[in-house]
C-alpha cells in the first residue's frame, strides 16, 4: 500500500506544480513509513519539505499555502497528534469556504495513519476519525486496499476542499494490485467487497479485512454476509448501505476505533431511521472497548476487534 501512496503523490507532483508535500522526516528520510521515499530527490526540497516537529506549524502552513493557491499534502506522522493540528484544521481549513462566502476554498490534504497492532502504545495507536467526521467542512476517507489508497488519495488531492486521508498503519505493508491506469474513485462511494444475502457488514480500513474473514467463517455455517467497504467516512455512502440493508435486513458496523460515539454510531442511527422498516434484527456495532489502546502485545490483541467478534455480532443479529 505504501508504494501505491508513493505513486499517487509522485503522479500528483508531476502533473500539478501547485502540489507540495510537507511533514516530519518526509524528505531526506522518505517518511516514517516510506510513503514519500525518493520524492524529495525527484521534485526538490521546495516541493517536498521537511518540517520541524510541530503539527500546529505543519497544519498552519498547509492552510496558508492552500488559501494562497497551492495544493499542499501534509503528513502528520501519527493520527494521535492531530490534536495539535486541530485549530488550523477545524477552525480555519474547515470554515474558510463558508466564512469567505465561497470565494476561497482550502484544497489541502492531510495524510495521517491510525490504528494499532504494532504495540505502539496508547499515544501512537488511536483511531480518531470520528472527531473529524463530526466537523462540517471536512471530508474524511479511509482506504482498505492499495488500489483504493492510490485512487482516494488522487481524489483527495483533486478535491477543492480539505480532505483527511486516514491510512491504517497495519495496512502499509499490504500487497495488492494497482492498475496501470486506475479508475478514479469519487469520495463518498462505497464498494461491495463480498456479496451476501443474510446480513450486511459495513466496515472501513483494516476492519474491511476482518469483515471478509468473518464472512468466510460465517459461510462455513451457511450464513452469507455481505461486506461493504465504506472507503469514505464523510461523506459516507448512505444509499449503498441502505440498499444492502434492504436486501439483507440485518446490519453490523465494524471499525477499529472505539465503539462508543464512533462512526458506527452515526451509521446505526441513520439506518434506524432511513432503514427502519427494513430491519429484521438489531443493528450491532463492533469496535474497540472504551479504554485507551494497551501497550502490551497480548492486551492490544485482545483489545482490537477481529473477525471472530464480527462473526459473533452477525450471528447475534440473525438470532
Amino acid at each position: 500500500m505504501v508504494q501505491a501512496i508513493n505513486r499517487a503523490l509522485a503522479e500528483a507532483l508531476a502533473e500539478d506544480p501547485a502540489v507540495i508535500l510537507l511533514g516530519e522526516d518526509i524528505g531526506a528520510a522518505g517518511g516514517p513509513f516510506g510513503a514519500t521515499r525518493g520524492l524529495q530527490q525527484r521534485f526538490g526540497p521546495d516541493r517536498v519539505r521537511d518540517t520541524p516537529i510541530s503539527e500546529a506549524a505543519i497544519m498552519g502552513a498547509a492552510v496558508g499555502a492552500a488559501l494562497t493557491g497551492l495544493r499542499p499534502v501534509a503528513e502528520i506522522m501519527f493520527m494521535d497528534f492531530v490534536t495539535l493540528a486541530m485549530d488550523a484544521l477545524v477552525n480555519q481549513a474547515a470554515k474558510a469556504r463558508f466564512m469567505f462566502g465561497g470565494q476561497r476554498g482550502v484544497p489541502l490534504v492531510l495524510r495521517t495513519p491510525h490504528g494499532g497492532g504494532l504495540s505502539a502504545g496508547p499515544q501512537h495507536s488511536q483511531c480518531l476519525e470520528a472527531w473529524l467526521c463530526h466537523v462540517p467542512g471536512l471530508k474524511v476517507v479511509c482506504p482498505a486496499t492499495p488500489a483504493d489508497a492510490y485512487a482516494l488519495l488522487r481524489s483527495a488531492i483533486a478535491d477543492p476542499d480539505p480532505v483527511v486521508v486516514v491510512e491504517n498503519k497495519a495496512l502499509y505493508a499490504m500487497k495488492g494490485e494497482v492498475p496501470d491506469a486506475p479508475e478514479p474513485i469519487p469520495i463518498g462511494r462505497a464498494r461491495i467487497v463480498r456479496p451476501g444475502r443474510d446480513a450486511t457488514i459495513v466496515a472501513y480500513g483494516a476492519a474491511v479485512h476482518w469483515a471478509t474473514d468473518a464472512a468466510s467463517l460465517l459461510a462455513a455455517e451457511g450464513i452469507e454476509a455481505e461486506v461493504l467497504d465504506l472507503r469514505s467516512l464523510q461523506p459516507w455512502d448512505e444509499a449503498a448501505v441502505l440498499e444492502s440493508l434492504s436486501r439483507t435486513h440485518r446490519l453490523v458496523v465494524a471499525h477499529e476505533a472505539v465503539e462508543a460515539f464512533g462512526v458506527g454510531a452515526e451509521i446505526a442511527a441513520r439506518m434506524a431511521d432511513a432503514g427502519f422498516d427494513e430491519l429484521d434484527g438489531p443493528i450491532l456495532r463492533v469496535g474497540a472497548p472504551f479504554t485507551p489502546v494497551p501497550f502490551a502485545r497480548e492486551l492490544e490483541a485482545a483489545y482490537r476487534p477481529d473477525a471472530a467478534r464480527i462473526a459473533a455480532a452477525v450471528r447475534r443479529t440473525l438470532d
Binding site: 435486513h249 427502519f276 422498516d277 427494513e278 430491519l279 429484521d280 434484527g281 438470532d319
Partner: protein, 382 residues
C-alpha cells in the same frame, strides 16, 4: 392555565385486533365535536369502523395521519375532552400484551394483511421476525405483459380471506355429508306468507337459517368449535351467513337464529346482509357461531362444497331448488322440488355420524316447515 389535553387512542375493535389502519380523519384540528360525532375511520383486516367522540371537546392535534397503521392503544390525537373515544368496546384482556416484532416483520405483516397478534415469534423473547410472517397468497406484482396478464394486489379483506381460507383448508380436516331436502311445502308456505299484509319477504335462505338455528337448539352438543387443542361449547344458536360484497366475501353472524321467529329472523338477516354489503359491519358481527350458511342457489347451481370458516366447525352449502321426478311408494314417478345441501365439517369437532344426524335434522325441519312457526323449545332441551 389550560387543562391538560387527553389522548384519543387507536381503539381495540375485536379480540384479535393488534393494530388498525387509520383510514380517514373526519375531523381536523380545531374541530369542536359532540358525543357521537365520528372522529375517524379505522380499517382492520375484517372491517372499517367509525370511531365516535365519547363526549364534547375540541380536537387540538392529530398525531397519526390518515393512511398509517398503528398498534392498538397508540395515541392518534389530542383533544380537550375526556380520555377515551368510544368504539365497540372489545373484550380487552388477553390480546393487550405488547407485541414484540422487528420493523421489517411489522411492515410485511401490514402489507400481507396479517395480524401480528396471530403470529408466534421465533426470535429472542418471542420477537416476531420476517420469517415468522406467512407469505401472502398474492404474488408480488409482476410487470404486465401480454402472455402473463396483469398482477392485481389484493385489498385487506380479500388478502385476509385468502390467507384465512388457505389456513382453514390446510389445517382443518374437512369431511362432507350431502342430502336433498324436499321443499314443496316450504315453497308453498312462502307463497302464502307473501300474501300476509306487513310480513317481510321470506327467502329460502331465511328458512334454512331458521332450520339450522333450530337444529342447533335441538342438538346443542354439536354447537361447538375447535379451539387451542380442544373443543369450545357455544351457548347461543348463532348462524353465519356468507355474503358476497363488493369488498369480497364476508360471513357476518346472525345472533340467536335458533330462537328468532321467522319474521324477525328475516328482518335481522336482511339488515345484517345489507350492512355487510355497505361495509358497515361492526367487529362483533363477524365473531362467534359454529356454522355458516352459504347459498349459491341464485346462480342455478345444484350444490356447493364449501370450506369451513376459520373459527367455526361447520359450513352448509345450499344449491338451487329444482324440479325432479322421484319414485313414489308405488314406484311411479312423483314430481318433487328439491334443494341439495352439502355440510362440510371439521373432523376434530364432529364425526360423520354427528354431522349426518345434524344435516338430517336440518332436512327434516325444511321438509316440515310448519314447525318453524312454533316458538322453539327452551334452550338446551333435546
Amino acid at each position: 392555565m389550560a387543562a391538560p389535553l387527553a389522548e384519543i387512542v387507536m381503539p381495540k375493535l375485536g379480540l384479535t385486533m393488534a393494530e388498525g389502519l387509520l383510514a380517514e380523519w373526519r375531523v381536523a384540528p380545531g374541530a369542536r365535536v359532540a358525543a357521537g360525532d365520528v372522529l375517524f375511520v379505522v380499517e382492520t383486516e375484517k372491517i372499517a369502523t367509525e370511531v365516535e367522540a365519547a363526549g364534547p371537546g375540541e380536537i387540538r392535534e392529530i398525531l397519526v395521519p390518515a393512511g398509517r397503521t398503528v398498534p392498538v392503544g397508540t395515541p392518534v390525537a389530542r383533544w380537550t375532552g375526556a380520555a377515551p373515544a368510544s368504539a365497540a368496546p372489545g373484550p380487552a384482556a388477553a390480546a393487550d400484551r405488547r407485541i414484540v416484532a422487528t420493523p421489517l416483520a411489522r411492515r410485511l405483516a401490514r402489507e400481507r394483511g396479517v395480524a401480528l397478534s396471530t403470529l408466534a415469534g421465533s426470535g429472542p423473547r418471542g420477537r416476531i421476525r420476517a420469517k415468522d410472517v406467512p407469505a401472502t397468497a398474492a404474488p408480488a406484482p409482476a410487470p404486465d405483459d401480454a402472455t402473463r396478464g396483469a398482477a392485481i394486489p389484493l385489498d385487506r379483506v380479500r388478502a385476509a380471506a385468502a390467507r384465512r381460507l388457505t389456513q382453514a383448508k390446510r389445517e382443518i380436516p374437512h369431511f362432507y355429508v350431502g342430502a336433498a331436502a324436499e321443499v314443496s311445502r316450504l315453497l308453498a308456505l312462502r307463497e302464502e306468507w307473501r300474501e300476509l299484509p306487513g310480513a317481510p319477504r321470506l327467502t329460502v335462505t331465511h328458512f334454512v337459517l331458521a332450520a339450522v338455528g333450530r337444529a342447533l337448539l335441538a342438538m346443542p352438543e354439536l354447537n361447538r368449535v375447535w379451539e387451542g387443542e380442544g373443543w369450545r361449547r357455544l351457548s347461543s344458536p348463532d348462524v353465519g351467513i356468507a355474503v358476497d360484497t363488493p369488498h369480497g366475501l364476508l360471513a357476518p353472524v346472525l345472533r340467536d337464529a335458533g330462537h328468532l321467529p321467522l319474521d324477525a329472523l328475516a328482518r335481522r338477516a336482511d339488515a345484517l346482509i345489507g350492512r355487510a354489503r355497505d361495509g358497515r359491519l361492526a367487529p362483533d358481527d363477524l365473531q362467534g357461531g359454529c356454522i355458516t350458511l352459504s347459498n349459491v342457489g341464485m346462480h342455478g347451481v345444484r350444490f356447493l362444497v364449501p370450506i369451513v370458516n376459520p373459527g367455526q366447525s361447520m359450513i352448509l352449502g345450499l344449491g338451487a331448488a329444482e324440479s325432479v321426478f322421484r319414485p313414489d311408494a308405488h314406484g311411479a314417478p312423483a314430481l318433487r322440488r328439491e334443494v341439495t345441501l352439502v355440510l362440510a365439517a371439521d373432523h376434530r369437532v364432529l364425526d360423520g355420524a354427528a354431522a349426518a344426524a345434524f344435516l338430517a335434522r336440518v332436512v327434516a325441519i325444511l321438509e316440515k316447515p310448519l314447525a318453524l312457526l312454533l316458538a322453539p323449545a327452551a334452550t338446551g332441551s333435546p
